[in-house]
Amino acid sequence: MATTTSAAAQRQTGTDAIIQCVGVHKWYGEFHVLKDINLSVRKGERIVVCGPSGSGKSTLIRCINRLEEHQRGQIIVDGIELTNNLKNIELVRREVGMVFQHFNLFPHLTVLENCTLAPIWVRRQPKAEAEATAMKYLERVQIASQANKFPGQLSGGQQQRVAIARSLCMSPKIMLFDEPTSALDPEMVKEVLDVMIGLAETGMTMLCVTHEMGFAKSVADRVIFMDRGEIVEQNTPDEFFTNPRSERTRLFLSQILSH
């Protein structure tokens, strides 16, 4: 996945950041969901976002591929600022894969067709080429033998692995994960986390909302803690878990680690 950071991004930000959020605010009606978010993600960086339910984690990562619109501040992804320009939004989405809590596979298409749909219609790849790429990624998430089944015939863990493969088939530069394991039965969490750890080892830029602290400790370069729409604290996993700086972080950690 190694490509050079686009020149435009470097010019605009002066860093090698691939995602740049500057003073981002978002409201749902009266409700202030995101408050002055400043975040810069370097290429190849692996970030875990955690925080209590309703703190705005999903909203933040959904703003990064414009599934949600922010109202103030700037979000620049791979050198392109997200505005109402639809062409730019689609360009960004091609480079940003997203994995959802509830998989959101297309139930009317086979596993293979799920993986080739976007490469064929967005990247305009010939079918044979798209299928070869898809098989490669399905192999990598160890589900190639199910390629001709429909999503409804697979277990939750298998579906989530297909969803990851489907995103990878677009050869994205960034992968966003929104609680990819929280809808899974406990025995299936590991198979999905293993795939994500494998992906982290390839140098993919990853932004994961998750409460899997084991995953955070073993792969994250940085842990971000959000509460009530703010980034309260960010640090390396070591520092974050052993030496949290704010009271809110400590409270949150004591709650999730006591489970």
């Binding site: 959802f100 959101n104 297309f106 976007a118 219609w121 044979a128 015939q153």
Partner: protein, 398 residues
Amino acid sequence: MTSESGGAGRGAHSGFTLSINDPTVRAVVFQVLIIGAVVLLGWWLVHNTLDNLARRSIATGFGFLEREASFGIGESMIDYHPRDSYGRAFLVGVLNTLKVSVIGIIVATVIGTLVGIARLSSNWLLAKLASLYVEVVRNVPPLLQLFVWYAVITESMPSVREAFNPLPGVFLSQRGIKIPVPESDPVWNWMIVALLVGVAAAIAMTRWARARQARTGQPFPVGLASLGLIFGMPLLTWLVGGAPTAMDVPRVQGFNFVGGATMSPEFFAILFGLSIYTAGFIAEVVRSGIVAVNWGQTEAARSLGLSSGNTLRLVVLPQALRVIVPPLTSQYLNLTKNSSLALAIGYPDLVSIANTTINQTGQSIEGVAMIMGTYLTISLGISLFMNWYNKRIALVER
């Protein structure tokens, strides 16, 4: 899915003692009793009927279909005179029913789809108007709606002499809607052939485009090109055929129009009445189908970079159709069966003609059997087609 335990359980209970408490014995006894009652009832009905018919000296059988009908029919798609047989009169009725049903299904589907989508619109006024339409249309009895449409034409339209003339050659009056039609010319027949060729070419081109995209990845504007072929071919034929423009324009002569084609007030009332009524239900079917597709599907498609058009076409619609098709089928069947309300406003559909036949001949059993047989055939035809279509788009679930 193992059924071993169930089988073992049943084996343990089945002994040789016959008891009314044994479910198997009980089931057999009840079934025998019910079959006996049905047979007895059937025998009594047939016996009574034959008895009555014999007393009134009415011959059973379909021989009457050969006899002269000697009643006129207001409108017909085939040549018909009162001197023709009852059989031909019945055929006129079947064709009239089919005409209303087929055109009605198309019109109702178009209106229903538009209204259903409008109900989901973010435009407040549009959504409210669409809801109002659905509520009104679904809550007023269809027969009343037919009377309203019929009255709109026959009561509020001007007489023939003062016919409303909105476009050159088009007249609205109590006698219905008159429109000009092209004068007969061999070119028109060739244009129909060209249309069919255009459709075939569009299908072939779609397959070619699909294969090419699979090979090279380049998509082809299939929709636009198909439209071009389907409309372009007849247009080209028309131009090559010398572009005949002579029209048979309706004009007033005496107390009525001559020339042109007519849409009778009866046909107008039954067609629009049924279409607008059924469209109210179809709108709900379409709306619930679209709503049934999880928003997450759209988000997943958009986050892969698919455009909104492709998202709708490749992801949302195929799933919505799965929900829409079964209830849509029953709306199509309803429309077809409701076309028998034509009787009330005097449109000569199959029921109204069969009714006249029964009154004249007394052959009510045969007449009703023919009505039922025809509706059954049409309904089964629609069901078979829709089931086939539904199976094609069905999902494989866990």
